[in-house]
Amino acid sequence: MKDWPLWEVFIRSRHGLAHKHVGSLHASDAALALANARDVYTRRGEGVSIWVVRSTDIIASAPGDKAILFDPSEDKVYRHPTFYEVPDEIDNL
């Protein structure tokens, strides 16, 4: 028999944060995925909202592309406010 499809589970904790990936599980359909996610990942009040997404529906960047994707942002220090010199006399800037 084939494994049930794989789902990725995302949970929003009670503190108003964004949904965060917590792990994955197998389930035959979306309703069961949600029910299983409740049982497997929220036994101690970890969350107030659950998302389940079929793993095959997630498109991810490849680790090999890390340099290509993210290095260009590293030498752009002028994107940070601390790059700019502000005279001491100037407030609210």
Partner: protein, 407 residues
Amino acid sequence: MAACEPTRTYLRCVSANRPLLSFVSVIRSDFANARPNTDLMTHNIDVSLINCIIFRGEPSAVIPRIAGPSFMTGKTLMHTQPAHTEVEPRCSAEALAEREQAFQAKIDADIKIEPKDWMPQAYRQSLVRQISQHAHSEIVGMLPEGNWLTRAPSLRRKLILLAKVQDEAGHGLYLYSAAETLGASREALIEALHAGQAKYSSIFNYPTLTWADVGAIGWLVDGAALINQIPLCRCSYGPYARAMRRICKEESFHQRQGYEIMLTLCRGTAAQKRMAQDALNRWWWPSLMMFGPPDAESSHTQQSMRWKIKRHTNDALRQKFIDQSVSQADYLGLTPPDPELKWNEQTGHYDFGTIDWSEFWRVLKGEGPCNRERIEARRRAYDEGRWVREAALVFGAKQTRRAPGTD
């Protein structure tokens, strides 16, 4: 701060197959020695997808084709990508050695390895073996305790035990998921267990004869497991480390509820205290064996430690467990069944008697009191649940077909 270091060299890579995905990238490397091949590989860039490389603004010389991980593979899985197993055979020995060095350097720098990162085949296999064994242990570990679910002495104890057994199931699931990120399939892992090819912790091949055994399991077995598991929270493989952090947080409740059962029995009648002592007598030595064979005989320890899959040796963890458990037994008024157990001023540790390793190997080989019963129970549950799994799969497919907006 300077915007860029003087040694930095600019390299522009343009993807051939995907003109829309052209990147201008900065690769920080010393090109004075002009080894673009190596540098591309350390950055995991697949040259087969690059049609133009501009090196310091000039088109570079022809770059020989080398194998590398895919550049942009389109639809890839986030958590369960079975990695680039197809890449390795095409790698030259030299290139492979270089990759392994880069891999080890990452581990030495405490950078976590994630599912889609390149890793040596042996690292992957070692992790699949360890994580699946661990998952199987959690699942089989439900059985000895499940034996007491209907007979727990009070409603409070029954609720607690139910919650604990449910936690063990959860721990098994976190771990199976972590193993699956390495490309193993859930079904194959479970079949290996049922076929007797995969191991699980030998401790669960001992029977739970009395209610005190449930206490002793929580106190000693979960206590030993925690000592084993806390260092795993810093394991080099990301998904395993994250699963272990969840598990350790929950496991601490297991140990405490076990100790509370022991404490209640020890403060009870003389017969109850005898029951507690009897449980300690039977679980003490098997608990010490949970840390695995002595360092000298442990086949995986050294490599596992180099890879930071394992952080401490079996013997070191075992000593830690003994040191902490003796005073806990003292408080209960119980005596561990080892006449040679004695505090050693010089070492600052307890000395202890010789462990009967022949028993360990016997139980591991399948000759423990409950080996056959445990695997049979697992097989039966799996086989008898098969029709439910199949029906749910068909139902799920039907739901998808009927859902509006899908085709």
